[in-house]
């Protein structure tokens, strides 16, 4: 599998993402945001986490207009898989490749800690190695992770099984760290080839890091 990882000025999770996918057996390539193309044989584009353009104006707002994003949009529009992690999720909502938007955390604090997540949708190319209602333990690190979508949009997400993850506690009960609508931590697009989440599975690849649950998540992309 070939994974192209996008780097903007301010991206800081590209090497963790590269490590994670190479550990799972993928070939990876870092793609600087000034590039106008991504490799033709790319199976998955990952928009990595960080603080693109210093989060000026809004998180992901300026990154969305970097040259490489046209190639990412073209890849997505022809059915190619795209994953946005944290700031990457914000970039994908700003690009309208994913529905909704990310607001400042409800309590206005930057949150950096492990948090549990409950799998809400597994019939997709990302979370197919997990079962519905499985609970995983994954780090979160964000200031603007408060997912918002209007009530009609929310209904459409549920009707089409586009909600991927809810924040929860170790027992799977709702526990919302940032004020997200319905404690949503990740969603996909209607065609189920574009995925976004605020938590960082690439930082949970081995037990020594506190959790290896990220492996079970990212492995989904390796199923045919």
């Amino acid at each position: 599998m070939k994974v192209s990882i996008i780097q903007f000025p301010g991206t800081n999770c590209e090497y963790d993402t590269q490590y994670a996918f190479e550990k799972l057996g993928a070939t990876t390539e870092l793609v600087w945001h000034k590039e106008t193309k991504i490799a033709d044989d790319t199976d998955l584009v990952v928009v990595a986490g960080g603080f693109s353009y210093g989060d000026y104006l809004r998180s992901g707002a300026i990154a969305r207009f970097s040259p490489v994003m046209q190639a990412v949009e073209a890849h997505a529009n022809r059915g190619g898989k795209v994953l946005g992690i944290c700031n990457g999720f914000q970039v994908l909502t700003e690009s309208r490749l994913l529905p909704g938007a990310l607001k400042r955390n409800e309590h206005l604090h930057f949150i950096s800690r492990h948090h549990h997540l409950k799998i809400a949708g597994n019939e997709n190319a990302f979370l197919n190695k997990l079962c519905r209602d499985d609970v995983v333990n994954i780090p979160i690190a964000h200031h603007d992770g408060n997912y918002y979508i209007d009530p009609d949009g929310l209904k459409a997400l549920y009707d089409n099984d586009q909600v991927l993850l809810h924040y929860c506690d170790a027992e799977g009960n709702v526990s919302n760290p940032n004020g997200s609508v319905d404690a949503i931590a990740g969603v996909c697009n209607a065609a189920k080839n574009v995925f976004g989440l605020m938590p960082h599975p690439e930082r949970a690849m081995e037990a020594i890091l506190g959790s290896a649950d990220g492996k079970a998540m990212l492995e989904g992309f390796f199923a045919s």
């Binding site: 104006l57 809004r58 207009f65 909704g100 607001k103 400042r104 955390n105 409800e106 206005l108 004020g179």
Partner: protein
Amino acid sequence: MKAIVNVFLKQGVLDSQGKAVHHALDSLKFDGVNDVRVGKQIVLDLSAADEASAKAEVTEMCESLLANTVIEDYAIEIVS
């Protein structure tokens, strides 16, 4: 020509910063505040020929970059 753009979260979208400021004003005993909204102001210096073209141009800027219309409203004021 100058354009002043004010961007605020839409009514109905919870403004956490506004709530926090409101709460702080309350604790300072400013009792007469019904609501607080915190937004941002963007001031643009433009070379547009006239007010109408300036407004059209800034509207396009707001729709594409300056505001996220999923969650935000914007208001444009042209000042010469």
